[in-house]
Amino acid sequence: MTDFLNLILEPLQEVFLKFQDFLPNLLAMLVILLLGILLAKLLRFILVKFLHAIEFDNWSDRMGFTALMRKGDLWVKPSAVIGGVVFWILVIVTLMAGLGALNVAAIDTLVAQFFNYLPRVFSAAIILAVGYLFTSFISRAVLIAVANGGYHYARLLAEAMRVLLMLMILAMVMEQLQIATGIVLAAFSILFGGIVIALAIAFGVGGIDTARRIVEQQFAEEEAPKPPDDIEHL
């Protein structure tokens, strides 16, 4: 009977001992989580206050970020979004650090992988943010230059430029995140090549009449007598 009881109690005792060993790790994880979340909340509060102080929301309005958020059905202030993003990044980092405190081999591997991947996420985010600003700047420059030149389709050209540049930047982001790099590269090449071929076909075959009209109109405009402008603007 005693043997039988031992047979039952020993595993339980072993589990209890293991739990006893594990308990400090669990407590450490909970403490890390609690402190991490409190710290993340504090940092979010300070960051949002700071962003308000430097009028980040106004700047976002001017740079077009707010409009972009509204298009994505996001109706909070840009400063709140930045605060939220930073908060959740800190919570995830805290969670990973807490899980690391458990000293479980499988979780340790997962945590190590996560932290190894983190720099890629940051660089992808930077590429996306800088790329968006760059794209907006270039497409606006194209829009103004073409409109000031008096050409038609300025907006169309600027939008085409924006889409192409954003595609390129998204491909760079995906490559940085190592998400299906082969497929992204192939898709990007196909898409770019496709756009060029589509334009060639559109203008070369489908748009023959339109192209003829444009050329005829252009020549007609050139042939019409145009008095020169001799105004001295300064």
Partner: protein, 419 residues
């Protein structure tokens, strides 16, 4: 950037000259075929009106490849009797050298200021190198108010064709007048007289790596003189006729450089202009007379077409700058037929003030912001041309006066929005 006076060759020449009462600066770039007339007119003016003053002519050149500096050295009035002059007591000396720094008129002027400072000049004049209508009297009219009248800055007053000088007439003059309260009719005229004291003051300003070094120098000189309490006058010089403009000169860049310099000066001197209301005339010298001016061709239909292209393509940008109300007004204008196309003065005034505010707030990059003004400016110019075509010159001037009064009365809006 080192001062031009520190260059060994120039330093040596300045040491040889020692001191000068008058410095006349002629900025140039590939002006070999026009500069000789300017140099002769300057020499004659100095000989005729300032025979007892030691004077130096400085040709500050932007790297001409057509021998402009050689022409300056070789040019002199052989026979002063042809200009009814029998002797000159002090000789006129000449210095010609390439300036350093950003290529542009501003860098050329800076070199002139530096030489004037090194020579401890009492008075200076700067005149363009492509002038065809300059006479010896210009030198008298630009220098005498400084040397004898105690003025520090003399702006030019020209008779120009009623279509010419549209950036001046529709932006720079009304804005400068409303801001600083002085009616300097040609704040970016290009030919100025100023005291040695003011030249030294200009050199204390750190602006030589900005747009001031390019087209912005003229408005910068005038505004700096006005905003810092220097005594300002203007002299009637007659007609301003100069060499045909360079067809490669881009209107967008020109507008950008002049307006950005004007707006930047608003940032620098807001404490001064925020307190100013109304305007006063400045003392005017010279005998006004009517001059015959060359015909100016204008294609207003093409200008209106460019304005309409702008309305079609730039409305999102303009919405952020002008607001929905004024954008609607602009769109209503674009819908009018060419014959009834008229730009309301109040709308134009608000547009310029809104652009100044957008520049102040950093709403867009300065380049994008001010280049997006071009279609509006072209529309305003077309409207002005059509309005004044049947009018006499003095009636066209009255239209500009109305615009100036609109800028003055609308200034409260600018002041209230400026934070």
């Amino acid at each position: 950037m080192d001062a031009v006076t520190l260059r060994a060759d120039i330093h040596q020449q300045i040491e040889q000259i020692g001191h000068a009462d008058i410095v006349v600066g002629i900025p140039s770039f590939n002006s070999a075929h026009t500069i000789a007339h300017v140099v002769r007119a300057v020499q004659a003016g100095l000989a005729k009106y300032f025979p007892e003053h030691k004077a130096v002519i400085i040709n500050s050149d932007g790297g001409s490849v057509d021998g402009t500096m050689d022409v300056v050295h070789q040019t002199s009035i052989g026979d002063f009797e042809t200009i009814l002059l029998h002797h000159r007591i002090e000789p006129v000396l000449k210095l010609a050298f390439p300036y350093t720094g950003i290529p542009g008129k501003g860098s050329a002027f800076r070199a002139v200021f530096e030489v004037a400072q090194a020579l401890d000049a009492k008075a200076c004049v700067v005149v363009d190198s492509d002038l065809r209508s300059i006479t010896p009297e210009w030198i008298e009219l630009l220098l005498k108010p400084v040397l004898n009248g105690g003025f520090d800055y003399v702006a030019p007053l020209y008779h120009r064709h009623k279509f010419d000088g549209t950036i001046t007439n529709s932006i720079v003059y009304p804005l400068t007048r409303a801001l600083y309260g002085k009616r300097v009719r040609q704040p970016i005229g290009g030919d100025f007289g100023f005291s040695g004291k003011l030249a030294q003051f200009y050199l204390t300003k750190d602006v030589w790596e900005t747009d001031v070094a390019r087209f912005g120098i003229d408005i910068w000189m005038t505004t700096t003189a006005l905003a810092n309490g220097f005594r300002v006058a203007q002299s009637f010089l007659g007609a301003k006729i100069h060499d045909a403009k360079d067809p490669g000169t881009d209107l967008g860049n020109m507008l950008y450089q002049v307006v950005s310099a004007t707006f930047q000066l608003m940032e620098d001197y807001d404490a001064k202009w925020l307190t100013v209301s109304g305007s006063q005339p400045v003392p005017t010298f010279g005998f006004e007379y009517t001059v015959g001016l060359e015909h100016v061709n204008v294609n207003s239909a093409r200008m209106i077409a460019l304005f309409r292209e702008g309305v079609q393509n730039l409305r999102e940008i303009w919405l952020g700058i002008l607001g929905a109300g004024d954008l609607r007004e602009v769109e209503r204008l674009a819908a009018l037929d060419d014959a009834s196309f008229r730009f309301p003065l109040a709308l134009w005034t608000r547009i310029i003030y809104d652009y100044a505010l957008a520049f102040h707030r950093g709403q867009l990059s300065a380049g994008h912001l001010l280049k997006s003004l071009l279609p509006l400016y072209v529309g305003k110019t077309a409207s002005f041309v059509m309005e004044v075509t049947p009018l006499e010159v003095h009636e066209a001037e009255a239209e500009i006066e109305k615009l100036c009064l609109e800028f003055e009365s609308g200034k409260d809006y600018l002041c209230s929005q400026w934070k």
